[in-house]
């Protein structure tokens, strides 16, 4: 393994989240390790005609302390999730007050279908925003930065379901190059809307196990029938190890490695050739300065689709070889649903959970595996984790891989 370099190392020193499994890290950790599912029947609009009528939706999002509840209630849910997550993360890091004292706080969020969602919500409410470009002045990232007076650069990005890992890499680079003093990175997605659920359903991507929501998301299980949409927002505060140490900050993990690639195969179908996605994993390991035998745990992308799960198993075998037989592998999408552009961010928190708690969250609903992996099925497994790897693959052939290391 590589030696730590305080000049280049970047730590996660704060987290904030809005998920179906909780709105703070402790609750999320408890639910993940207990194997609780956040999936339920969709509420809020009639789903009688939908092929898939289930999702890991967000309940009411708590109002951040800095915003008046009446103001907050008027905001789009996407913005609510982003505001809650970002403020929570900065408070958790102990940097909330410092942001107005000259600290340059960058913000990088994966947001996949921001305008589609905003235009739809407006249209459902009787508006015509989609026909009126003059109303589209700011992105969600812009609005969060303005409201919180964040003075670092901002960026919205999307590699579909592979997006959030890219945010960690951009944030890390900005810190190393001095573009920001701290950087908040993560993802936000609110795709469980009438048209969002319909378009994914008509794509035949979603589980139709409507009568048994909690058991619908079953990655790596022979009886799977598609993924389950999830909603949420996750924000992580990144700062240099040197700066974090200086102020005595508590670190959740080091952002140790990142790698990315493209399949260049199909708009929505993953490549049957494991080499391109394998290249992303290989680059992440190299960036972290480690070999495959150094990895203690893998959080798989595994969404619960037959093609995708099998492809990822081939990718992992290609890179890890026989080491894979001893590395506990799990897919927490079995509990959280698939948060799309925010998936990588919430799975980074699942990896942190494994490192902090010494236990790997389970893949619930996994009764009959059809891949040859060291899977953590149904119940969490006690296991010492120092280095953990998280895959995220997406539509558009995007592949990303993040390596986190305990500090």
């Amino acid at each position: 393994m590589t030696e730590h370099d305080p000049e280049r190392d970047v730590w996660i020193t704060g987290v904030g989240l809005a998920s179906s499994l909780g709105f703070d890290m402790a609750t999320l950790e408890a639910n993940l390790l207990a194997g609780r599912s956040g999936v339920a029947a969709v509420a809020g609009f009639s789903t009688d005609d939908y092929p898939s009528r289930i999702a890991a939706s967000l309940p009411e999002i708590p109002c951040p302390r800095s915003i008046a509840p009446t103001d907050f209630a008027r905001l789009p849910r996407l913005e609510q999730a982003a505001l809650w997550s970002v403020e929570s993360a900065l408070r958790d890091a102990g940097l909330w007050e410092r942001r107005t004292e000259g600290l340059r706080v960058g913000l990088v969020l994966g947001v996949g279908a921001e305008w589609l969602e905003l235009w739809e919500v407006d249209w459902l409410g009787g508006g015509d925003r989609v026909q009126n470009p003059a109303r589209d002045r700011e992105t969600t990232v812009d609005r969060v930065r303005r409201r919180f007076a964040l003075r670092g650069p901002g960026l919205t990005l999307s590699a579909a379901c592979a997006a959030s890992n890219f945010a960690f890499d951009v944030g890390r680079t900005w810190l190393r190059k001095g573009l920001a003093d701290v950087c908040v990175v993560g993802g936000c997605e609110m795709a469980v809307t009438p048209i969002g659920l319909a378009t994914f359903g008509n794509l035949r991507a979603l589980s139709r196990r409507n009568d048994d929501p909690g058991r619908a998301s079953r990655p790596f299980d022979r009886d799977r029938d598609g993924f389950v949409l999830g909603e949420g927002g996750v924000a992580c505060v990144l700062e240099s190890a040197r700066g974090a140490r200086r102020r005595g900050a508590v670190a959740y993990a080091e952002v140790a490695g990142f790698g990315a690639s493209s399949d260049s195969h199909h708009h929505v179908i993953p490549s049957p050739n494991p080499e391109p996605a394998g290249q992303a994993v290989r680059r992440a390991l190299a960036d972290a300065g480690i070999n495959s035998e150094d990895v203690d745990h893998i959080n798989a992308h595994a969404t619960s689709t037959t093609v995708g799960d099998a492809c990822e198993a081939a990718v992992l075998r290609l890179i890890f070889g026989d080491d894979l037989d001893r590395i506990p592998t799990t897919s927490t999408k079995s509990m959280t649903g698939h948060l799309l552009t925010a998936a990588g961010a919430i799975e980074a928190l699942a990896c942190i959970t494994a490192m902090r708690r010494g236990a790997v969250p389970p893949t619930v609903n996994l009764e009959e595996p059809d891949v040859d992996l060291c899977l953590v099925a149904r119940e969490s497994r006690l296991h010492r984790v120092s280095t953990t790897l998280s895959n995220s693959f997406g539509f558009g052939g995007g592949n990303s891989c993040l390596v986190l290391r305990s500090v």
Partner: protein, 304 residues
């Protein structure tokens, strides 16, 4: 300034002149400005981006947003200008920064949903109109295995695209980056059938960017500079960027220069016009806070 993270030195840096945070060299560029009819024709083109490149699959662009089709057209220009085989771009990343992708399609999708319910909703919304879609499609067409990423999506998408590309080159995620910026001018304003209420054109510029190096003095550079005092936010556009690049390349980098003494004076072309003419910076725009300035840095003697 709060003194955490060694910000004493950061404060000193910001007190000085604007500093270059990130930069890259423009290896090649191409641009287009297309009407909707021209986009329809471009959508049907199947020939490769250039000789020796993979042909474009029959259905690859069939459901794509018009901005994505325009992006492909601008890539053709950049690749032609680069004059290199596809293998030279192996591993390059693809960054695509559209503005308001899918607006025209959504008006139609809403009416179909209203009329036909769930089954009237096209399954193409996410694969072709979400933020990742343009970059994913371009990656498919380019045929490389470098990473691909959609950027921005809103009014400052072009600025975010430049920032992302220079960030990628700095981090080493890819050895080179295809950066494609697209948008409608004026912004697309659809009626209920998705047709534009006023004439509009789709602009696109494609840039082939490589890490800045000191051994290529003649190349145009893209830079992100930090401003000491934030200015008013100023989004750049594909058309602005393309015009500036075209202007720089149209002007001779090295003008004719008189050599020898007067009686034997002879015009010699192609000699370097330096020294005596400093590099020129051309401001293209800022980020949405007016803090990060995007500059084109022209080699000495060039004019915009």
């Amino acid at each position: 300034m709060a003194a955490i993270h060694g910000t004493d030195s950061a404060s000193l840096r910001r007190a000085a002149a604007p500093r270059v945070l990130l930069e890259a060299e423009v290896f090649a560029h191409g641009s287009t400005r297309l009407s909707r009819d021209e986009i329809a024709a471009e959508r049907r083109r199947r020939e490769p981006l250039a000789e020796g490149w993979n042909p474009i699959g029959h259905g690859t662009l069939r459901n794509s947003d018009e901005q994505t089709v325009a992006a492909v057209a601008s890539l053709r220009g950049a690749i032609a200008r680069a004059g290199r085989p596809a293998a030279d771009f192996d591993g390059w990343g693809v960054l695509a920064a559209p503005r308001f992708l899918g607006r025209s399609k959504l008006t139609v999708a809403f009416d179909q949903f209203k009329a036909e319910g769930v089954w009237g909703v096209t399954p193409h919304l996410i694969p072709h109109f979400a933020l990742h879609a343009q970059a994913g499609t371009l990656s498919l067409i380019l045929g490389g295995h470098g990473p691909n990423l959609g950027i921005g999506g809103g009014r400052f998408a072009a600025s975010e695209g430049v920032l992302s590309a220079l960030t990628w080159l700095e981090s080493g995620v890819a050895p080179g980056v295809w950066l494609v910026l697209t948008g409608w001018s004026p912004e697309y304003r659809p009626d209920r059938q998705g047709e534009p209420l006023a004439e509009t054109h789709c602009e696109s510029v494609a840039l082939a960017l490589i890490p800045a190096s000191s051994d290529q003095e003649g190349r145009i550079k893209l830079q992100i500079n930090e401003l000491e005092t934030p200015g008013p936010p100023s989004p750049t556009t594909p058309e602005t960027l393309a015009a500036r690049l075209d202007g720089l390349l149209a002007s001779p980098m090295t003008g004719p220069r008189e050599i020898a003494h007067r009686s034997h004076a002879a015009r010699r072309f192609g000699l370097d016009g330096r020294p005596g003419k400093a590099d020129r910076r051309i401001a293209l725009g800022t980020d949405d806070e007016g803090r990060l300035l995007i500059d084109l840095k022209a080699p000495g003697g060039a004019s915009a």
